[in-house]
C-alpha cells in the first residue's frame, strides 16, 4: 500500500507445478511475480499449496515442473544454503543448544565472517528487535514472543534481500500477534527487504501485505492488494475466505453493463454488481459483507430493492451488534451494525426490511 513496489520480477514463479506422489498436483501451474521490496502474503487454508510454494522458493522442495527465478536467475537446482534467503519458521527453529548470540552468529560464521564483525552485526540485529540484553540466554529461557523476535533477527542478521516467513506468528496469543504484525511491517519498511509471508490468518494478511495471493486447491484464486481483495473478491471462494460474508443464491434476471438484478429462490428481486456472470438466466451466488447491510430505508439509495428479513438472534459484541436473521430462506444471514448512541435495538422475531448498495452486492459464479 504505502510502499507499493513496482513489480520488477525479483522473484518469479513461472508455470510451476509440484506433485509429491506423481498422482495429484499440490501446486497447479503457479505464475507469480514479486517485486523487489514488496510484502507479499500467500494466504489460504491448510493444504492449499502455499507452504509448498514457500518451501520450493527456500529450496527444501524441488519444483516438479516450471522455473523459479530469483533476481533473474533460475534457482531450481541451487541448494538452499547458496540462495541467501532468510527464513522464519513456524516454530522458530532456534537451535536449543546455542545461546541467542550463537544462534544469530551462526549464519555469519558459516559465511566465514571475522569475530569482531560478527559480534557487531549480532548486536545490531538484536537491538533492531529490542533484544539486546538477551544475547547470553538460551532460547528455552525466552517467552514465545521473545523467541519470535530472535528468529526474526536471525533471519535478517546476514542482510538477505528476500525473507520468507512461514506462519511466524501462529503460536502467539492475539495481543502479541497484533503487536508483532506491526513490528514485522515496520522492519520491512525500514530495511527495504522483500518479504514472502505465508499465513492462514486473513486478518494478518490484510494488515501487513502490499499484495495478497489467495491460494486454494493449488492455484492462486486472486492476487490483489488487501482492500481490493476484501471489497472486490473475484470469485466466491475469495469472498468466503476473506472476512465474513453473506451469500444468497439466485438467477440473473437482468444484466446491464455493470449492474444486474438477481431473482432469489423465494422470488424476491435484489440489486447486485455482476463480477463473473455473463448471461441472463445464469445461476449466481450474490455475496454481501455483513457490515454493508442496512435496515434503515433512509440509508439506502433511491429505488434500491429491499428484502424481508426476520431477526433470529442479536449478539452483543461490544463495538458492534451482530444480528442473525432469516433472509430468502437462509437462516445464517448476518448483519453487523455499529453500537452507536441511539442505535435501533432489534429484537428476535422482529420483522424488518434490509437492503444494500448495488456495488456492495457482488454476483459471483457459484463454485
Amino acid at each position: 500500500m504505502n510502499t507499493a513496489a513496482t513489480d520488477d520480477g525479483f522473484v518469479v514463479f513461472d508455470h510451476v507445478q509440484k506433485s509429491y506422489d506423481g498422482e495429484t498436483l499440490v501446486v497447479k501451474d503457479l505464475n507469480l511475480s514479486i517485486g523487489k521490496g514488496e510484502f507479499l502474503t500467500m494466504l489460504g487454508p491448510s493444504g492449499s499449496g502455499k507452504t509448498t510454494c514457500l518451501m520450493m522458493l527456500a529450496g527444501f522442495e524441488t519444483a516438479t515442473h516450471g522455473e523459479i527465478r530469483l533476481a533473474g536467475k533460475n534457482i531450481n537446482d541451487m541448494p538452499p544454503h547458496k540462495r541467501g534467503i532468510g527464513m522464519v519458521f513456524q516454530n522458530y527453529a532456534l537451535f536449543p543448544h546455542m545461546t541467542v548470540g550463537e544462534n544469530l552468529a551462526f549464519p555469519l560464521e558459516v559465511r566465514g565472517m571475522g569475530k569482531s564483525e560478527r559480534e557487531a552485526k549480532v548486536m545490531r540485529a538484536l537491538d533492531m528487535v529490542q533484544m539486546g540484553k538477551f544475547a547470553n540466554r538460551r532460547p528455552a529461557q525466552l517467552s514465545g514472543g521473545q523467541q519470535q523476535r530472535i528468529a526474526l533477527a536471525r533471519a535478517l542478521v546476514f542482510d538477505p534481500e528476500l525473507v520468507l516467513m512461514d506462519e511466524p506468528l501462529g503460536a502467539l496469543d492475539k495481543q502479541l500477534r497484533e503487536h508483532m504484525q506491526f513490528e514485522i511491517k515496520h522492519l520491512h519498511e525500514t530495511l527495504g527487504i522483500t518479504v514472502v509471508y505465508v499465513t492462514h490468518d486473513q486478518g494478518e494478511a490484510l494488515t501487513m501485505s502490499d499484495r495478497v495471493a489467495v491460494f486454494n486447491d493449488g492455484r492462486i484464486q486472486q492476487l490483489a492488494p488487501p482492500d481490493e481483495l476484501y471489497e472486490r473478491p473475484q470469485n466466491s471462494f475469495v469472498a468466503q475466505f476473506i472476512g465474513e460474508n453473506n451469500k444468497l443464491p439466485g438467477t440473473v434476471e437482468t444484466l446491464d453493463g455493470d449492474s444486474c438484478t438477481v431473482r432469489l429462490a423465494t422470488g424476491e428481486l435484489i440489486d447486485a454488481t455482476p463480477v463473473n456472470v455473463r448471461s441472463v438466466g445464469q445461476e449466481t451466488l450474490v455475496s454481501i459483507r455483513p457490515e454493508r447491510v442496512e435496515f434503515k430505508a433512509d440509508m439506502m439509495p433511491p429505488g434500491a430493492h429491499m428484502v424481508d428479513a426476520e431477526v433470529l438472534e442479536v449478539i452483543y459484541m461490544g463495538d458492534i451488534f451482530r444480528t442473525r436473521m432469516r433472509v430468502a430462506g437462509t437462516e445464517d444471514f448476518v448483519m453487523k451494525s455499529r453500537n452507536t448512541l441511539g442505535q435501533t435495538k432489534l429484537r428476535p422475531s422482529e420483522k424488518i426490511k434490509i437492503g444494500w448498495h448495488p456495488q456492495d452486492a457482488r454476483a459471483l459464479e457459484p463454485m
Partner: protein
C-alpha cells in the same frame, strides 16, 4: 514479603508444613505400597546378592576358622618374628584339628591361592598330624621339609585373619613377597590387568562400532514415513526376539574358517584355499558378534531422541547458509547427544559384563573379564577372587557412569 520467614499456618492455626505433610501422607503410603513388591524383589534378588558378593571379596574365613591356634600365634607374634618351636606347635595342633574336622583341603586351597603347590602339603601333613611328638618343628619338617618356606608362613599369617585385601591384590596381578610388601606377580602369571585392559578396549571398540552403525539407521527410522519406519523397526528388533545363543552360533557358522563367508571369498577367488581368514575364536569374532547383538541398544535411544528433533532445525541451518555437512555437525549432531550418550553408555556397560558371546566365539584372545569371573566361580572355586574381580568391574562401570554424568548429565539421558 516481610513475614516470609514467619511460620505459615492454615486458617485454623495448624502449621502449614504439618498440614501439608498430613494431607500427602495417605497418598505417599499408597504409593509406597504400590512399589513395595518391586522393592522387596529387588532387595532379595539384587541388592542382597550383590552385597554378599562384595563381602566375599574381602572376607574369607576358610583358613582362619580351620586354624585357630595359628591365628592366636600370629596375633601374639608380630610380622617378622622368627618361626620358632611355638609356631610349629600351633601348626601341628591345627593340622590335627584339620584332620579331625576334615578341613585340611579347604584350608590348603586358601593358602594355595597365594603360594601354589601348598594344598597337598596340608592334606598330606594333616594325615599324620595326630602322631606328631615334640619337638614339633623337627617332626613337621621331617614329614614335609617345605614347611620352613617363609612364603607359606607369610601366606598363613595373612589368611589367619578373615578380612583380607589379598584378593584385590590378586585381581590386580599383585602379590606380597616374603617380607610382606606388595610387588607385581611374576611376568608369566600376570593375567588380570591385561584382561581388564582388553575388556575395556574391546567394549570401547564395540560401543564405537554400534554408534557408528546405529546412527544412520536411527536417523532413517526417525525420518521415514510411519509405515516404512515400522518395517525397519521390526528388522532392528528382530535380533532381540531371537535367542542370544542362536544369534551367536549363527555368527560361528558365518565366520569360522570353513564358514560361509570364507567359502564365498574362496569361491570368488579373493583368497585361496590356504589363505582362509581366521575371523572366529579371536577378538574379531567377539567384536563382530557382540556389535551385532548390542546394536539395537544404541538404535533405540538414538531413535527416540531423533524422533523429537523437528526437521525445521536442519532446514533453518541450511537456509542460514550452512552446507548439509555443517548443518549436521553444528545443529543436528549436538541435539542427538543425549541419545548418543544413553545408547553408548548402555552398550558399553553391557559389553563390559558380557559373557556368553566371548565364551563361545572368543577363543583364547577374545575372552573378557566376565569369562575369568565365571572360571573362578565354576572351575577354580575361588569365589573371593571372582568377587574381587566382579567388584572391580562394577567400580569401572560406576566410574564411567560418573564421567558420563559429569559430561552429559544423567538427567539428559533418554532411553526411549
Amino acid at each position: 514479603m516481610t513475614d516470609a520467614t514467619a511460620l505459615l499456618t492454615t486458617a485454623d492455626g495448624k502449621p502449614l508444613k504439618a498440614a501439608l505433610a498430613a494431607s500427602l501422607a495417605t497418598r505417599r503410603r499408597r504409593a509406597f505400597l504400590l512399589v513395595a513388591p518391586l522393592f522387596l524383589f529387588i532387595m532379595i534378588s539384587f541388592i542382597v546378592p550383590i552385597g554378599q558378593m562384595l563381602y566375599q571379596s574381602f572376607y574369607n574365613d576358610t583358613f582362619s576358622s580351620a586354624a585357630p591356634n595359628l591365628a592366636e600365634w600370629f596375633d601374639a607374634n608380630p610380622e617378622g618374628s622368627a618361626i620358632d618351636e611355638s609356631a610349629y606347635a600351633a601348626l601341628a595342633a591345627d593340622l590335627a584339628l584339620m584332620k579331625k574336622d576334615k578341613t585340611a583341603g579347604a584350608a590348603g586351597t586358601r593358602i594355595n591361592y597365594d603360594v601354589s603347590g601348598t594344598r597337598s602339603m596340608f592334606t598330606s601333613t594333616a594325615r599324620k598330624a595326630d602322631k606328631f611328638e615334640p619337638p614339633f618343628k623337627e617332626a613337621v619338617l621331617a614329614e614335609e621339609k617345605k614347611w620352613d618356606d617363609p612364603n607359606i608362613w607369610r601366606a598363613m599369617r595373612s589368611a589367619s585373619s578373615p578380612f583380607t585385601f589379598d584378593f584385590y591384590l590378586a585381581a590386580l596381578d599383585l602379590t606380597r613377597d616374603s617380607s610382606g610388601s606388595i610387588v607385581p606377580v611374576a611376568e608369566g602369571q600376570a593375567i588380570y590387568k591385561t584382561l581388564f585392559w582388553r575388556t575395556l578396549s574391546m567394549s570401547i571398540e564395540i560401543t564405537a562400532l554400534c554408534l557408528l552403525l546405529g546412527f544412520p539407521i536411527a536417523h532413517l527410522l526417525a525420518v521415514l514415513p510411519m509405515r516404512k519406519a515400522m518395517l525397519l523397526m521390526i528388522l532392528v528388533l528382530l535380533p532381540f526376539w531371537t535367542s542370544l545363543l542362536v544369534r551367536t552360533t549363527s555368527w560361528m557358522v558365518l565366520l569360522q574358517s570353513q564358514g560361509v563367508l570364507n567359502d564365498m571369498l574362496v569361491w570368488a577367488g579373493l583368497i585361496d584355499e590356504n589363505g582362509r581368514i581366521q575371523m572366529m575364536y579371536n577378538q574379531t569374532g567377539t567384536i563382530v558378534a557382540m556389535t551385532h547383538i548390542l546394536l539395537p541398544f544404541t538404535v533405540l535411544p538414538l531413535y527416540s531422541v531423533m524422533k523429537t528433533i523437528p526437521p525445521s532445525y536442519v532446514r533453518a541451518a541450511r537456509s542460514l547458509g550452512a552446507t548439509s555437512w555443517t548443518a549436521f555437525r553444528r545443529v543436528y549432531l549436538p541435539q542427538t547427544l543425549p541419545g548418543i550418550g544413553a545408547g553408548g553408555l548402555l552398550v558399553f556397560i553391557l559389553a563390559m559384563g558380557y559373557y556368553i558371546t566371548p565364551a563361545l566365539v572368543g577363543g583364547a584372545d577374545g575372552q573378557m573379564i566376565s569369562n575369568m569371573i565365571a572360571f573362578h566361580m565354576q572351575k577354580s572355586l575361588n569365589w573371593s577372587l571372582a568377587a574381587a574381580l566382579a567388584a572391580m568391574l562394577l567400580a569401572i562401570v560406576l566410574i564411567f557412569f560418573w564421567i558420563y554424568d559429569r559430561l552429559v548429565g544423567i538427567d539428559k539421558m533418554k532411553l526411549g
